[in-house]
Symmetry: C2
Amino acid sequence: MWRNATLDHFTFGKREPGLPSTFKQRYFVCDTFWQPFADGSPGPIFFYFGNEANVELYLNNTGLMWENAPSFGALVVFAEHRYYGKSKPFSSKEIKNHMHFLTAEQAMADFAGLITELKVDRKARSSAVIGFGGSYGGMIGSWFRMKYPHLVDGVIAASAPIWSFLGEMPHVDATYFAKGTTYDASEAGGSNANCVPNVKRGWQLLKSFGATPEGRSTLHTSLRLCASAKLETETSVVGLRDWLASAWDYMAMGNFPYPSGYMLNGQGELPAYPVRVACNSLSNPESTDVELLEGMALAAGVFYNYSGDVPCFDFSSGPNPETTETADFWGYQYCTEMFQIFAKDGERDMFWEEPFNATAVSMGCEQQWGVTPRQLWATQEWGGRRIWAHSNIVFSNGLLDPWHGGGVLRDVADTVVALIIPEGAHHLDLMFSNPEDPPSVIEVRRQEREWMRIWIEEASRSRHGSDDQSIISLNLLSGGSVRDVDQLLRARKKGLARRLRSGLHREPSSCIAEPFEWLLDLIFNAFKELWISFDLAESPSQLEASTFRETSANSAL
Amino acid sequence: MWRNATLDHFTFGKREPGLPSTFKQRYFVCDTFWQPFADGSPGPIFFYFGNEANVELYLNNTGLMWENAPSFGALVVFAEHRYYGKSKPFSSKEIKNHMHFLTAEQAMADFAGLITELKVDRKARSSAVIGFGGSYGGMIGSWFRMKYPHLVDGVIAASAPIWSFLGEMPHVDATYFAKGTTYDASEAGGSNANCVPNVKRGWQLLKSFGATPEGRSTLHTSLRLCASAKLETETSVVGLRDWLASAWDYMAMGNFPYPSGYMLNGQGELPAYPVRVACNSLSNPESTDVELLEGMALAAGVFYNYSGDVPCFDFSSGPNPETTETADFWGYQYCTEMFQIFAKDGERDMFWEEPFNATAVSMGCEQQWGVTPRQLWATQEWGGRRIWAHSNIVFSNGLLDPWHGGGVLRDVADTVVALIIPEGAHHLDLMFSNPEDPPSVIEVRRQEREWMRIWIEEASRSRHGSDDQSIISLNLLSGGSVRDVDQLLRARKKGLARRLRSGLHREPSSCIAEPFEWLLDLIFNAFKELWISFDLAESPSQLEASTFRETSANSAL
């Protein structure tokens, strides 16, 4: 489904002539499982905060929402992040000239607008909203709870590295990501003991062979590079090195205990524990230089040649076009607000020494996008480690996920808590249940369910009071007595209890799987007319902002 | 003092060529009273969130901050709001072509930047920050605590009508303001019993006399209008009526128990309880039509002719140019984000029937500023009544202040509390103490002090842990042992305790009154060098973001 989102929430009026004032934001809604509570109040809303990709990726992978929606009777919503997937405010030709509107603040304001609209359209103003997000979506989700707690009652923020920015106190360990990847390739991380030393030796070979034309020719052959992939300078060897290292990073993020297509945007599958598989090609402690280079290529191939069909490697491209586009737009976000720190030291990690050079990175941003990162913005805007005033956020992190070192690994406040999955990769807890799941993720999912239950109960307590009060105030203002209001409330509850299922506002569904419901629908429709008559009698439509606008324009309340 | 504030916090790169990227924001700092705690940690910061006027107005009137700064040992800061006072991003000729950057979000981001900079520049990263604001400044202050709780530990929000917007649930009573003004003119509000009926009759006379040329001529004479103030149509009579009513609104806001210049931006003084004084001209239950009209003019004159020098009235202008400019820019804010509801019904208030007409108001905004108000934005962005997830906000309201009906009059959460001053006008609690203060405001100020104390203690508890941890982590990373760290911490505390006074970063002061401190300064300077040597030994400079930037650029932490 689509909605009109304001292009620029933070400017009023026409600032730049010719620009549209809105764009089409995509979202998916599944109301199959949505059920009112016993007292008739509307069921909860599960809301996914889209990240830097087509939101279908998250829709298809966020099992935590799908598996819990039925028992919670939840409406399931997946909202796409502006500039990604099909929610692009400009044509592909034009979009790079109008990147200004791609910020987390604008995206959060989109989500705020969508939640507000959903609550009005679905007559669910009092519904509890539980937010979900993984990775950047988890950052957005947790920040959304911090900035808009009136619109989301609690958030599961999985693998959200919100403490990976400059300006943190204490400072983040800049090598956290490289160390995290290294952990996956180590014996402690489940890989063979020779893998890390071999990988380290691999980078040295790359450097020494890369220094001469003959050496580069050997690299070209041993690493199975395509003829089109030129390796004529030491600079191009650096590009090759970074491309090889990227494979390790992605495999570590996707180091799940079963085959998964998540890291490939669903265009293929990585094997179970891909880092271990990659390390299998690097297990010989006594391989020759060429053998080791061939092993490096095979290891990278676990990621780049997931299909087994790639005849040779071209290190100028990723495994598929979609990841490239995503990386591109994320690059803009990195160059503006999301200035995360990355460094390697080659000692505590299996890479090489590469300190974080903020100046050089900034210059690159200036060149590519014409923007200078605001280095301390993220900490100033979202609080860094000083987030103890907030509530109702679960930060989950897997220790196989290299992002965990930039995440929240300890409880920050009574209800801002950290859940650790020692055997988990990138937001494993969000994925569908699998027979290969380690016990730790099963336990974390159980705790997350418990938090969801608590947040929904809390929201219900707040609801009683605020909503009933609004009916009363409306009715008293229009000349009713308190006695009328009592009757009205009783009737309303009876009427609502009859709804059984929420099909009143049924629209083309985006559910992953439609359970058979035609029978329930039949029953429901029989009650529907009755419900509508109750609806009119009680005039709950006055509770909706859309009609309220006219009401207030025409009469003093 | 001045700082460079980012003109557009929510856009990166050059969006519009030719625009400056920063502007000069003004703020005042007084460090006369600033004292470290016994353990050496820096004293608290009192921070005033500037409103829609020259911030000197608030600096000169916010006695609550000045009177408490000495006992709290607080640094006193008054920050000006962009577009007001001397913090204008553009020249007066240009500014109306660039109104886009005047939003509460941008202003809050300015304040966030200023607080961050102050904490770094003054080596006060761990200082508690207590925010203050009245009226719109109180709205900004309370929203700032909601959106940036990492930068302000608690906020006194005086007379902040954050519940005066469309979209509230339950709806705000749209006549709250008119009812509030009427209360001041009633016997319950301390005025004579005939005032309200006479004022009501006054508007009727205005209407009936206004219908004919002869009647309008009578109005012109009885109301002492200037020859230049033409009254040739019924429309102009409406203008006259609104101008007369405005006087009542301002007098009610400024209905203080002693003479005060606050409502006149310090350019003159209103008498004690100006509404009562105005009502004295309308106390006769049997006055003739002309006598009553003359009484209306005298009543309005309490505001418009505060000096007693005005020979005749011109209803096209306010009492002084500054209020006009302020009203102008506030008009833009009203026409974009601050779409508060105002209606009159002539029954529960002493005015006439005038429902809130959102459509008409919107059209006026479109005409004057080329913008359409986002009617539900305030509620969506700042949460309306759903603010129970927040903490550490005191909402104070005086019942003589017509704004109180749009404010928070009941506790919302454990530490989001409402304090009521039955005899108070517009943020009376922020003003300097006065012998005429009613006991209620004295008690409310006592409670506010108590909250300030609690927030500072809370911040101190958070400080221990975060700051010590940062020293430890820095030291361990650079090769120290835990034992070293212990010694370092002890030395640091000793060193800090020697500071006595915070003059280290003394700059031209903006204190209202400078106590004599030259002797303390002498003593302090003797210790200063000693302190600096401690400073270097302990390298707390690494704790500051300014140097951290370079550090992290050059080395992996």
